[in-house]
Symmetry: C2
Subunit: 248 residues, 2 copies
């Protein structure tokens, strides 16, 4: 897959970090891999990667703090100019697991802020750069090579997969992001920008825990294969790391 | 349909008002029809109804203001005591229609607060009364006659029906409420409380506008017929006013 530039949020750990690591090691590797994280100073593993791979650039993006988005856009613009940004991968998220009788309004707001509003507003901020990438691309149609927004969901965020209840703050915030992605897939199409929902499955990260069914390495290996094949048919759909198309 | 008690939010206009009106005119009519609205002082049409029908009780419920929920619970408790509340119909909602390039984080928060968090927190507040109704009911299984939470969605809140994009604050807030209803349908089942998503279709209310395909009267007539038939098979599903089961 030939992606000239990609930005990944929540890149300091878990699936986000692994995406940056595998993309940096890939051949060909993107010209620019932007690793967004809340606190670059404390992102030691990312700093190591960036030292080895000069195409890895660490960006401060604090999801929920819109002022950090504009600063990030300016930094990326200075590097890539008129080539634009090919892929924005909204990977950052939080999972608050509360049962019905425990959940508070404040917990509901927090997950929505980070898991739903954050990716939407970040996409708004980067839209001009995505549009530039789509406009300047040699390829037509929809693809990650041209321009794409990828939004990370979760099996817990799929309403048709909800057979166990609970997770009151997290599930609605993630299905809401799925809905937003579906709207984006329609609204962005004429600009040549794709929008796809990525389901990473259950992964042994800090969020997923030890009993998960795949390692971050296996999951990301799968996601990168999926990304390479995404096109018009997958626009607005849920694609799982193993290539399966999931019901919303 | 024999429902002893029902609470409807957003009852001062549109579908909410029509639900109260038709239930008050029904034979048999519920013993208690609680008409929740933000500002009872200004709810002239509701006041007229309540004067004609002593079983219509106006309650101040300001969605988003949790303190108003507890006061409402206390008022209802005093009336119905150990019989509990049979049906909580979360009908109140707002629709903010913004395109991608216009939408703000604040607009996203507002619709989520009213359309998603509000119904969840109101259901938490009334849960003990719903449980009392389920426990004291002569009938077993799931039904509106026993105990139910009905959450109002919209065709715009169904991800599988989203073919036109846009409506960034409203669509995700409504699909989030659908997800919450799905979780409720699983979590409440062992207590004998049903949870169903109601899709009113496109109705000529202040929200729906003049071009809508059904009048409030037609829509509510349909919803009441649907409610009479709801049972275990419909638990957690989307039921449209005309009886159709919709995809999420």
């Amino acid at each position: 897959m030939q992606i000239a530039s990609i930005l990944i949020t929540g890149a300091n750990r878990g699936i986000g970090y692994e995406l940056v690591r595998q993309l940096a090691a890939a051949n060909p590797s993107p010209d620019f891999i932007y690793a967004g994280c809340r606190n670059p100073d404390g992102a030691d593993k990312l700093k190591e990667l960036a030292q080895k791979h000069p195409n890895v650039k660490i960006l401060k993006i604090a999801i929920g703090d819109e002022s950090s988005y504009q600063t990030a856009v300016q930094q990326v613009s200075q590097d890539i100019g008129d080539r634009g940004l090919n892929v924005l991968f909204n990977n950052a998220g939080i999972l608050t697991n509360r049962k019905f009788h425990e959940v508070t309004a404040e917990e509901m707001r927090k997950d929505y802020e980070v898991d739903t509003i954050g990716p939407l507003m970040l996409t708004k901020a980067f839209y001009p750069l995505l549009k530039k990438a789509a406009d300047s691309s040699q390829v037509k149609g929809l693809s990650c090579t041209r321009a794409a927004v990828l939004n990370m969901t979760s099996g817990l965020g799929l309403i048709n997969s909800n057979t166990s209840g609970g997770f009151y703050p997290y599930r609605p915030a993630k299905i809401a992001l799925n809905m937003i992605t579906k709207s984006m897939s329609i609204d962005f199409k004429s600009d040549g920008i794709m929008a796809v929902i990525i389901d990473p499955g259950w992964v042994s990260t800090d969020m997923g825990g030890k009993n998960a069914s795949a390692t971050p390495s296996q999951c990301v290996d799968g996601i990168l294969s999926v990304m390479a094949k995404l096109g018009e048919e997958e626009n607005g759909k849920v694609k799982k790391w193993n290539g399966q198309t999931m019901e919303y």
